[in-house]
């Protein structure tokens, strides 16, 4: 059964239509990659799902509820977490305070996240609880944005380009963390440009180009279609 199912999602910035009938599904406990180049519409898809674009239309079902007209904070409270690109942590706040902003009540059937459990998942963060976010490295900031969203005890998470601009070694840590979250039962939709990183973590993939979904299938099906890869994914 799908945790998140999207149909006919359109989105606009001013007069420009950025998304054109985007449709996708995220199953429970699944990791699905949304692949595409810069500007293809990945971030806009995520921002539209959580209600952060000025204008959108379409059907977005999440945990059996229609969220297409809900406000951003209501969507978050239902349990759809969003980790934006560019590591948007609160730089003036300490690690602990960043986590506090994300804290929401526990959800039935899930072990609630606490700062301690998160420090175990991301050991670096545990060593710098009182440090302001602005004085952390890019990799640490990326971990913190994910940890902060987990504090809301989401049942599904949208991860926007988690590997962007990070050193390969950190990217490997990131992949390991995502796989562990999947084992915890979290459903994850991750946007990526890096096909190789996507291979390490995902069960299925969609390819988006110019605001439209051009391919959807398992990773194996994608591997079998080099033509699609060459047409839509930047090398």
């Amino acid at each position: 059964m799908s945790v998140l199912s999207v149909a006919d999602l359109d989105a606009w910035y001013g007069p420009a239509q950025i998304l054109d009938h985007v449709a996708l599904d995220l199953g429970r406990g699944e990791v699905v990659a949304l692949l595409g180049r810069n500007g293809a519409g990945k971030s806009t898809t995520f921002r539209a799902l959580v209600g952060l674009v000025p204008r959108r239309s379409g059907r977005i079902g999440f945990e059996g509820q229609e969220i297409g007209r809900m406000a951003t904070h209501e969507i978050a409270r239902l349990g759809l977490g969003f980790v934006p690109e560019d590591r948007r942590i609160f730089t003036d706040l300490t690690v602990e305070e960043n986590l506090e902003v994300g804290r929401r009540p526990a959800r039935a059937g899930l072990t609630p996240w606490t700062p301690e459990r998160l420090y175990a998942l991301f050991p670096n963060l545990g060593e710098m609880r009182r440090r302001p976010g602005g004085r952390m490295s890019g990799g640490e900031q990326q971990m913190l944005t994910i940890a902060r969203t987990l504090m809301g005890n989401p049942s599904a998470v949208l991860l926007d380009e988690p590997s962007e601009g990070l050193a390969p070694r950190i990217v490997e840590d990131m992949a390991a963390a995502i796989v562990r979250l999947k084992q915890e039962g979290l459903s994850i939709l991750v946007s990526e440009q890096n096909l190789h990183f996507a291979r390490l973590i995902s069960d299925r993939a969609y390819i988006i180009e110019r605001g439209r979904i051009r391919f959807g299938g398992t990773m194996a099906e994608l591997e079998a279609r080099p033509d699609i890869r060459d047409a839509y994914l930047a090398v």
Partner: protein, 626 residues
């Protein structure tokens, strides 16, 4: 020595209220990015309510409870204002927010007079703090000492609130990244409302605490808001400790300035502010504004010079106006001349705002300098009208060069606040330098030369000046210089990369706009036969802004139409009602919320799609580029 210490204590006592009010403004700005012009009005309501409550309740408990209840009531009024008005304009350019909250201020001024009457009210003294304490042989009022202690206590309480409570952490997070806070499940709407209520509570408390020290008056709102602007600009918008430090600095300058420069004490404060802004453009504790929002005037429909048909239409219109003396009487002609001079004033402000992207909140300074330039030339040099009319724009242009040098170093709300502060400097000089300017009594007997003394002749003179000025500003807008000015407004980065210097380009525009406003002011002095400090005051500046807004910010010279509509309306209102401020304030608020594109925007409203409104309040180009 003892005297100096006592004077310093008096300064600290004054700083307490100022800090409360300023920290409220800062907190509101930090989260909502709105500079709340109505903050002074909320302070005033706090003082009036505290007066009534303490009178009604009586006794020690009644007094202290009255102060607190007044502040709570102000917070409730503030929350209602936020819900009904501000929620609609959070995404609008800052100019609209300043104007809307100014509209609220105007309304409050009349409402306060309706409720409490025009007389100053003297509050009772604080029970338990009625006497004086001897310090080093000098008497210091006990209530002053109470206030000296109250300042740091509130600072500490605010620190705890923002660092030790979940609400405070959420507010600090929202100050940095509102969307992200929403994505983490926090309802921003109510966070904003609560922040606004807290800020306004502090304003109300600041006003209430003052009642044992000074009389409550219906003109305190503008005095307070200007002082508070100075404090937050020095301290850094959004910073509570900055507000504290700056409140102390400003109050001490006032306390000692009055001893050293009794005549120009206000000017000293503004000079300190100007120096701080040049050295640290974002104040002592402030930080650079990360994201710039939509600049006024920026439009995606490129402007076109008037075509043949347009020129013929203008020629016909001007000829028709020139024929007015054939059927209009002297009163109507003098009203007509006044409106035409405000067309010139509004056109000069539009040049600065729409072409230059610089929203000045103190354009009256140059209008007033023009008036005073002309009047002083007549009074002290015995100059004839022809020469005196030139003295106006010269003095205003020089003022524009001097003040503009500072102002163009800033942008956005800081620019607006600095222009306002400079206008207040000009106003206080005119007000305080009695020997030269006549102070409050103004300069009388500024009459035109014989040939222009007939209403028809002066009307024609005004019509000619208006036509030539608007045409000249249009020509300048379409000249290479005008394009460079727009280039800087559209993209400073690109403009600098093709060799255009932002500072000098905007500085020239500032001086030109000042000189043209001065021309209007000079003629205005001759029209009225006198000049008063009012010419330089905040309401005159805001009139100009409303004219530009009404005419359409995204037009080259729509302000001319806006000036005619607004000036005619306000002259008519003055004759119809005693509460013209209430009506004008309401008009400004309605205009900002429902007609942000001015009269030209009416066309968008009647169109079925209604996209006009979305463009004004919707996403900025930078968001769209994401």
């Amino acid at each position: 020595m003892a005297f100096l210490i006592v004077q310093a204590l008096t300064g600290l006592a004054s700083a307490a209220s100022l800090f409360l009010i300023a920290s409220g403004l800062s907190i509101i700005f930090g989260v909502t990015r709105i500079v709340n012009f109505a903050h002074g009005a909320f302070t005033m309501i706090g003082a009036y309510l505290a007066y009534s409550l303490t009178e009604r309740l009586g006794g020690a408990f009644g007094f202290w409870f009255g102060l607190f209840a007044a502040a709570v009531a102000v917070a409730a009024i503030g929350a209602a204002t936020e819900i009904l008005l501000l929620r609609r304009i959070y995404k609008a350019p800052e100019l609209f927010q300043l104007l809307a909250t100014f509209g609220v201020t105007l309304m409050v001024q009349d409402l306060v007079i309706l409720a409490w009457g025009p007389e100053d009210l003297l509050g009772r003294r604080a029970p338990g703090f009625t006497g004086a304490v001897m310090i080093l042989g000098q008497r210091v009022p006990a209530y002053d000492l109470f206030l000296v202690a109250a300042g740091p206590v509130v600072l500490g309480a605010l620190w705890l609130l923002f660092n030790r409570t979940r609400w405070g952490i959420l507010v600090r997070a929202a100050t940095q990244d509102r969307d992200m806070v929403a994505a983490l499940g926090v309802d921003q709407k109510w966070l904003f409302t609560s922040v606004f209520a807290l800020g306004v509570f502090l304003a109300g408390l600041g006003g209430a605490l003052q009642i044992p020290r000074e009389a409550v008056s219906h003109s305190m709102d503008l005095r307070v808001i200007v002082e508070v602007f100075v404090v937050v600009v020095i301290g850094g918008l959004g910073s509570v400790p900055g507000a504290f430090l700056a409140a102390v600095i400003v109050s001490e300058i006032n306390a000692f300035g009055i001893l050293i420069f009794p005549k120009i004490s206000i000017v000293v404060v503004f000079l300190v502010m100007a120096v701080v802004l040049v050295v640290r453009p974002f104040g002592l504790f402030g930080r650079p504004e990360a994201a710039r929002r939509t600049t006024p005037g920026a439009t995606i429909r490129p402007w076109q010079p008037l075509g043949r048909a347009g020129r013929i239409a203008v020629a016909v219109l001007v000829s028709a106006l020139a024929a007015a003396p054939a059927f209009a009487g002297p009163y109507l002609l003098s009203v007509g001349a006044e409106i035409l001079l405000f067309v010139v004033f509004a056109a000069s402000l539009q040049f600065l705002m729409s072409v230059g992207g610089l929203a000045s909140f103190g354009h009256a300074a140059y209008f007033g300098l023009g008036s005073y330039g002309a009047a002083l030339a007549v009074k002290w040099l015995g100059a004839p009208m022809e020469a005196a009319i030139l003295a106006g724009p010269v003095l205003a242009g020089l003022g524009g060069i001097l003040f503009g040098w500072f102002c163009v170093r800033l942008s956005g709300v800081y620019f607006a606040m600095l222009t306002l502060a400079f206008a207040q400097i000009a106003w206080s000089i005119a007000f305080q330098w009695v020997a030269v300017t006549g102070g409050d009594n103004g300069i009388l007997g500024v009459w035109p030369t014989a040939w222009a003394s007939k209403p028809a002749a002066f009307y024609w003179l005004s019509l000619m000046v208006a036509t030539v000025s608007v045409a000249a500003l249009r020509i300048l807008a379409f000249s290479p210089f005008g394009y460079r000015l727009r280039a800087v407004r559209d993209s400073t980065l690109r403009a600098e990369a093709i060799g255009i210097d932002r500072l000098s380009t905007q500085w020239i525009a500032f001086a030109v706009a000042g000189a043209v406003a001065g021309l209007a002011g000079a003629l205005y002095a001759f029209l009225k036969g006198n000049v008063f400090p009012d010419a330089l005051a905040i309401p005159t500046s805001v009139d100009g802004l409303v004219m530009v807004l009404l005419g359409g910010l995204e037009t080259v010279s729509g302000a001319a139409i806006g000036a005619v509509a607004f000036k005619a309306l306000s002259i008519w209102l003055m004759s119809q009602t005693d509460y013209s401020k209430l009506v004008l304030g309401a008009i400004i608020v309605v205009l900002v919320v429902f007609l942000p594109k001015g009269l030209g925007g009416l066309a968008d409203l009647v169109r079925p799609s209604g996209t006009g409104r979305n463009d004004a309040s919707g996403s900025s180009p930078s968001e769209a580029a994401r």
